[in-house]
Subunit: 225 residues, 3 copies
Amino acid sequence: MKNVTLIGDVTIYDNVTIGAGSVIYGPAILGQPPRGKEAGELALTIGVDAVIRPFTTIYAGNVIGDCFQTGQGTSIREDNTIGNHVSVGTHAILEYENRIGDHSRIHSGCFLEMVTLGRYVFVGPHTVFTDDPHPMNCPKWKECGGGAIVEDLVKIGANCTFLPTVKIGRGALIGAGSVIVSDIPEQMVAAGNPARVIKPVKELSCRIGAYERVYSWPPYEDDNS
Amino acid sequence: MKNVTLIGDVTIYDNVTIGAGSVIYGPAILGQPPRGKEAGELALTIGVDAVIRPFTTIYAGNVIGDCFQTGQGTSIREDNTIGNHVSVGTHAILEYENRIGDHSRIHSGCFLEMVTLGRYVFVGPHTVFTDDPHPMNCPKWKECGGGAIVEDLVKIGANCTFLPTVKIGRGALIGAGSVIVSDIPEQMVAAGNPARVIKPVKELSCRIGAYERVYSWPPYEDDNS
Amino acid sequence: MKNVTLIGDVTIYDNVTIGAGSVIYGPAILGQPPRGKEAGELALTIGVDAVIRPFTTIYAGNVIGDCFQTGQGTSIREDNTIGNHVSVGTHAILEYENRIGDHSRIHSGCFLEMVTLGRYVFVGPHTVFTDDPHPMNCPKWKECGGGAIVEDLVKIGANCTFLPTVKIGRGALIGAGSVIVSDIPEQMVAAGNPARVIKPVKELSCRIGAYERVYSWPPYEDDNS
């Protein structure tokens, strides 16, 4: 790999491609074979200008865009598709089959499986997404389960819990500590256990009076003008 | 150790036994000495056909059965007894004195201390068990505290919090995001903060109509027929 | 460094000072350069008698006192000030600008950013502190946000979530699984989502009748006599 900086003990399996300008801090493992696959059997592609921090594991079988960042101890299993300018925080876990849009930020300690995130989604630390309504071993779970669908510009507070298959509409805000058991409409604030819709995001006030309306800054301003 | 495959930098202290057919991905540390013990002073025994994934630490002073699996970054301290066919997920933490029955699955990011799990227990990601009602330093805490007792075939959703010494009856289902402050009877669904009993597991409906009754599949079918 | 024991593969960058009597278990990284800084540009100082466990990362730009302990996989970013006799548990994350008082214990899997903890604070496992009321990208967030302020002798249960800038008064007890959205007065018990004040700590009873009043033991006894 040209113009990739490896610092410390970085394990790179065969069939891994990393874009120019990337920095990988070891110990880290790129291209770990998933269960039932040989080393090098599946490809791992990471775009340019990645920063991979120590103790990260990324399995083979993933396609990751440019300007990707991980924290310490990030774990990414197979069959994920990750856009450009995405960060996945310290100890965050992507299990399989997540689709992560450009510019989305998955904070420290999150857990995602079969989740679809749009663009510019913020996921606060320790938020957990589930995908199976009736664990474990339901023979039909793939037909009834699956992770949440989160549209563009959604902001999710810390330590939330999402039940399978819920849909979070564009621009919604989910309060910290919420348990989301049903769909949340776009541009609404929801919070609580179970989460209930409280008011439109447009009616949130700025604590310090600096803005007439919150989220009037980029990238949210077109929806909140 | 015969027929054990070590991949990468695996540290194995003296007095560690690993069964045939096991695969250990480094960096990993097996037999880490607990506080106050010398390296090799306590034994660590792991059965046949284990898969230990990178960044795992397992302390000396544990007995672990056959077909054990860890995710990335699993941490297991001393004085645990773990049955056969158990998996402990990525970044999950077993502190000391847990008893884990056969076929139980502890998902990513869980935390257990002094917990007893029966057989075929499912613990969803990021679930936390506590063991001390009044931290810290109570001189009598060992007499009054201790972790939950979870009977066979219980299924626990993601990001739950268990107070010390609660008992969860056989086959119960705990909804995601619940805070469990009191005992839950067998075969009941409980959810919320604080968790309240909602209805029998038998009255849960299959979302897609594939089953007349959920949990009519193995290993649950005898309790739900 | 004199009288520092390194076990396994420990990476120590330039400009790192570790006190005598310390034990560091590798793999571990001490002095990791923060974004935009060169290796060795910022100092990391750790006092005497530290125990740093495997898979820990501590960035440059921190000042840490004596008798410091980490669990496995602890991650500590820059600009933290940590007192003496502090422990930070397995997979716990200190982001930047935390101030941690002497004798405080941050348990496994916690997440803190811009938090001030007093002395003898107990933070239960998986507790998360937030610092930005309206993520992400608010140009004024540093003027309106910031982490919680937690006074001396506070005890915080497992899996709690703190909203930005809340203040927790001396000696308060926060029940496990709580979401703290407003200030909690000193010496009070609060719990729930959202957390509400329930009663004075002095009115908590000992489950087993061993004490007339809980927290009558050190270091709490002067406040509860």
